[in-house]
Symmetry: C2
Subunit: 700 residues, 2 copies
């Protein structure tokens, strides 16, 4: 931090204990201390500087990433960091690298899908990074539809091997991170074929490159798939393309925890419940939700601090101009995002608990909550990543012109974040999964199957269908129950409307199908590797004209309403806990109301047209929202300080802790390579002939 | 174009004459022929290739831009292209360059603000590019608030010169394109000071660099401000920083058409009506609206073609999977954007007419329509650029994972487009200007001042306040009048509500101010160089607590409602014209309904809560929208073909005319510099020691 704190006057305005809020944000005192310690460690290490990376060309950038990855691993060894600390270290280095896939996908795939024997063989190598692995699932032609993957793994009983092969161009593996240049091994997903029979997609451990000279093994073609969106951003990653020409691997490299191929080539299932594997999905997605709150809070932190530094208009007789954070138009765009970051943080925390709960149940062979947990995490992944991607760009716009400079940090933050909307389940496909679960839940009301978890409110459907909101004055909207009811009523009624409309669409044939569909257990249609849509079933069976397909856009909206309810309700639940620290709970209550009423205002059409509130009540909510912004205002800087991000992690001149924006922007400009020389390269060849009217004869 | 057309089966589905639609899109047969000819000229010239530019580092990229600019100018000379053709050539070269500012800002500034004498001196030099100019207005500390600029131009009567000076760090010129490395001259905006008196901001022609060696002149410091958002994108432009240390220029380099400084140092006004200059703003902004339709249509073209190529899910017994364009979720996101591109095209066309009309009136000293024209162009600039920026990103997401690759063209299109939301008036500030005009219009109803142009519907306010929509079945929403009325009613009622709420807020002091404010003529508070907000006045006079400020977010929403009405009404007006070609008018009618009903659905809360429609009617609109999507579907590819974009201009593998996506994506990948070597740079230093467990001793 600097000597002068240009934002000290803002920090003095805070009405709550920032130190305690840091603990709340981190989830626990230990969590705070861990993050604080590791983030400082990274920030103080010159090798981890990242302010120069947007100026590097692809090759330099990639080499820089390898260097950081190696240095990070070296530090892990030297400091004997444990797994959690090592994870945090990579997190704060904040540069996507092959190691993310090695630790985040390759290792967990073996842990989850490998037999004990396979784990004993491969995990120690991976833990020591004697091998580096990636996760080769997506192909050029297939992403969401995992069942459509074309790579084949054909068992050859003569040699006791699988032959891995890419039969078409579109079967080329395409996108896997770490694949293009670095990984020595991969978990490859391919159609298992034994004796001419296709058993669907399974995972196989395949060595890709020689451990001696790093050259691809025979029959394997690998490369990088090229530049991606943005400056630096994911261009630090070697997303790769991979084709196989009849590559042979030993039989024991199929991941055999759930299904096996015997020496004789028989395909058999073990007695391990398949559902165990679905827990992994819940885990991956709850991490994505946690990451969403981090990404959004970074952007919000930058935009909030800069909005307090930036002044424009409103000077009285040569005095200071108005801070842009004081404009209501700025507040009405920024503060809901500030509130969203906290909302996502808390729902992420709750998802962590949900994952633990699901895991424990699975181990006790209790699969009852799995479908609901799966739908819930799918929906929250979709909701939070979409809102975060949009929110980062909104924060960039809230910084005006200067937000367009890379030195604001926001362009890179956006570019590196947006793939979250597509990977691990396309956000629209995921919402359709949620909608399907909702339709099933509605259709089963009154039967023995009681809605559980986040759909439990459906048990009160009758009451919700009759409810009318009794808000009479703006302050009524501050009551948690009033807000909660409104969100429940809206979500329930939208689901019911969809269900009714689906019924209208159904012809006898489809009706039969619909009934049948509702009896499927969710995990029967969700794949191991997921990314799967319920479209498959719908379309295979009833073709394009189904009501599901026709009403898909409405179903998506109903799913969003349900997911927003979850976030609002978990925020409210959080506030029912004991939260220490002067003013901490109070300001969180303000943020909770901001989040809920902002959504209500944004989706006013839903709330009014479902008859849940009337226009007058909607307008009172808007009025209350304005009041709440005034309450957020003095606390805004402290609320983003509570994230406890170092200037290194933020990577933004506009978001500097000390608010010393202009001098540093000015300084930074001169570092651009274009400023290496006063007269630019190309002037003599191209500009001078133009100025001297000699272009006609110039060779360009 | 390729031999095989993978989209031929889609093109065969079209129900309208694509050739005729191309004329409609281009605006005229001549317009079409001009664009067609020049775009092919550029596409066939290897020097204008752009597929490699995302891989260049900043210096190479910049040099590449200089080369293209010189080559473009050479072609203009060789082919004796006229002004319009030369403009189109630069347009299709599609790489931001200093020439954009030279032709688009520097030359027009002299034309608009220079005396005849000044024009005779400077314009011939500029026309021949013997000097290259830029437009140096924005400073580090001031963008929107032009009146807050700090650079000074102090008249020194002793030497008959102005002394241009940067008194503070924040007074550094910051952002001007072409400034950083290339421009020899600039129109510099600075506070004119004579005899100790500050006369506000005026323009001055200042030479920046020597015409011999291109070095900055004495007292001038210039550089590039560094990397901006995205791959290539605006990094081809040398946006610059500039400070003056008491730089002297002759008195006759102040742009003196409207105000002069005499030899004695007296500040006087000429008899040229100031308003003439405001026409320029209308012109610049109507061009931005036209550009919005181009940018959005490019993105839509890419996403539509790729959505027809991409197949996912729904294969029956090994047959082809479903084209993603057949999914309703895809249609409900993509088709409104397709319709928007056409809507923006037509409103842009109308704005061209408006500009001509305003210009003619100004020349006849008729200023009556200027305020309305100004508000209208400001609002449409804001509306279309925001929708386009969001729309491009939506199109990118609609392309799934592959949209994240630079070779999709969408990342660069987004990054190069988004500054349009901030430059030439921040979009939120502009909407507040519109809102102010609306409040003034409402308050003057019943007085002699009749609303004109796009606010003319306000004359029917009484009727609009009583209206209730009589839609009874979904098809009723196809009637243009029904739609138009609904948009008028919504806009009018939102304005009236705001006006009423403003009254509630007003205390006696503020009430007085409000009345006073309403008597100001708009052009009195709009600056020459614009980018000005009405905040200035509001805040200067009544401070932060004004109702305007408090209700700013609502005012913005009312302004949006008004602007959407304009776009809808101009689309409807366009369809009242004679439009030749089989099926052309019919499909445009479908698009018009899609655009309007999509907006209605998106802003359902507005429509219902203003009592303009009821929930049932809202739901019928949604139903009709679904039907319309089915009518768009077979025409989708032909509708984007009608833009007549070359593959070169589109710059997207996903959007290729022939739909040959996968082989070309695969080919393109190998061109990445990372694929120059099989084993990447850095492997030996960083990865091998990791794999060999020798990291502890490695020097990284």
């Amino acid at each position: 931090m600097e000597d002068v704190d240009h934002l000290a006057f803002e920090r003095n305005k805070a009405q709550f204990d920032v130190g305690e809020m840091k603990i709340v944000w981190a989830g626990s005192r230990e969590g705070f201390e861990l993050s604080d310690r590791i983030s400082r460690l990274v920030a103080s290490d010159p090798l981890f500087r990242k302010d120069d990376r947007v100026m590097l060309d692809r090759k330099e950038l990639f080499k820089n990433t390898l260097r950081k990855a190696a240095h990070a691993w070296k530090r892990v060894i030297e400091l004997r960091l444990n797994e959690q600390e090592a994870y945090k270290l990579r997190f704060f280095v904040d540069q996507p690298a092959f190691t993310d896939l090695h630790w985040g996908m390759f290792v967990p795939a073996i842990q989850g899908q490998g037999t004990d024997e396979q784990q004993q063989k491969w995990l120690p190598l991976a833990y020591r990074m004697q091998i580096i692995g990636c996760y080769a699932q997506t192909e050029l032609g297939h992403g969401s539809n995992v069942q459509g993957l074309e790579t084949t793994a054909t068992f050859d009983p003569k040699t006791d091997e699988f032959v891995i092969h890419s039969p078409t161009l579109t079967s080329s593996k395409w996108w896997p991170g770490g694949l293009g240049k670095i990984s020595t091994h991969a978990v490859v997903y391919a159609r298992l074929i034994t004796d001419g029979q296709d058993h669907g997609v399974h995972g196989f451990i395949v060595q890709l490159r020689s451990l001696d000279d790093h050259l691809p093994l025979r029959g394997i073609t690998i490369g990088d798939i090229g530049m991606k969106f943005g400056n630096a951003a994911y261009n630090t990653m070697d997303n790769g393309v991979l084709t196989f020409d009849h590559v042979r691997i030993p039989r024991n490299q199929m991941l055999m925890r759930v299904s096996q191929v015997t020496r004789e080539g028989k395909y058999v299932h073990s007695n391990v419940p398949r559902q165990l594997i679905y827990g992994t999905m819940v885990n991956v997605r709850q991490k994505i939700v946690a990451d969403a709150s981090v990404a959004l809070s970074r952007a919000v932190c930058i935009a909030t601090r800069y909005s307090a530094v930036r002044r424009q208009f409103g000077s009285h007789n040569g005095g200071l101009e108005t801070q842009v954070i004081d404009y209501k138009t700025q507040q009405s765009r920024l503060f809901p995002l500030l509130a969203s970051a906290y909302a996502f943080r808390f729902v992420g925390e709750w998802l962590e608990w949900l994952y633990t709960d699901v895991t424990e149940r699975l181990q006790a062979n209790d699969f009852s909550t799995l479908p609901e947990a799966h739908a819930c995490t799918a929906g929250l992944k979709s909701l939070t990543t979409t809102a975060t991607a949009d929110g980062i760009e909104e924060c960039r716009k809230l910084c005006g012109g200067h937000g367009y400079l890379c030195s604001s940090g926001l362009p890179e933050l956006f570019a590196v974040y947006v793939p979250a909307c597509t990977y691990e389940g396309d956000n629209t496909v995921l919402l359709l999964q949620v909608a399907r679960h909702l339709m099933k839940t509605v259709s089963q009301l009154g039967t023995g199957n009681k809605p559980v978890g986040t759909t439990a409110y459906m048990t009160r459907l009758e009451q919700l269908m009759q409810y009318h909101c009794d808000v009479k004055k703006a302050e009524d909207w501050l009551k948690p129950n009033v807000v909660l009811q409104a969100f429940e009523v809206r979500a329930a009624r939208m689901s019911v409307t969809c269900a009714q409309n689906l019924n209208k669409f159904s012809n006898p044939e489809e009706g039969k199908f619909f009934n049948r569909l509702l009896t499927y257990k969710l995990y029967e249609i969700v794949l191991v590797a997921d990314l799967f849509s319920w479209y498959v079933m719908v379309e295979r069976r009833v073709g394009m004209r189904s009501g599901f397909q026709e009403l898909a856009a409405d179903l998506v909206e109903a799913a969003i309403a349900h997911c927003q309810l979850i976030v609002v309700s978990k925020f409210i639940e959080k506030l029912q806990q004991d939260i220490p620290g002067k003013g901490v709970k109070q300001i969180l209550q303000v943020l909770c109301s901001v989040y809920a009423l902002f959504l209500l205002h944004k989706h006013l059409g839903d709330f009014i047209s479902t008859g849940c509130i009337d226009p007058k009540q909607g307008s009172l909510a808007g009025e209350q929202l304005r009041n709440l912004y005034s309450q957020v205002r003095p606390n805004a800087i402290a609320l983003v300080d509570a994230y406890n991000y170092t200037d290194h992690f933020l990577g933004s001149i506009l978001g500097r802790y000390d608010g010393n924006v202009y001098p540093k922007l000015y300084e930074e400009a001169w570092k651009d390579p274009l400023n290496d020389s006063v007269v630019p390269d190309g002037f003599k060849e191209y500009i001078q002939p133009m100025l001297k009217q000699q272009l006609r004869n110039a060779r360009l």
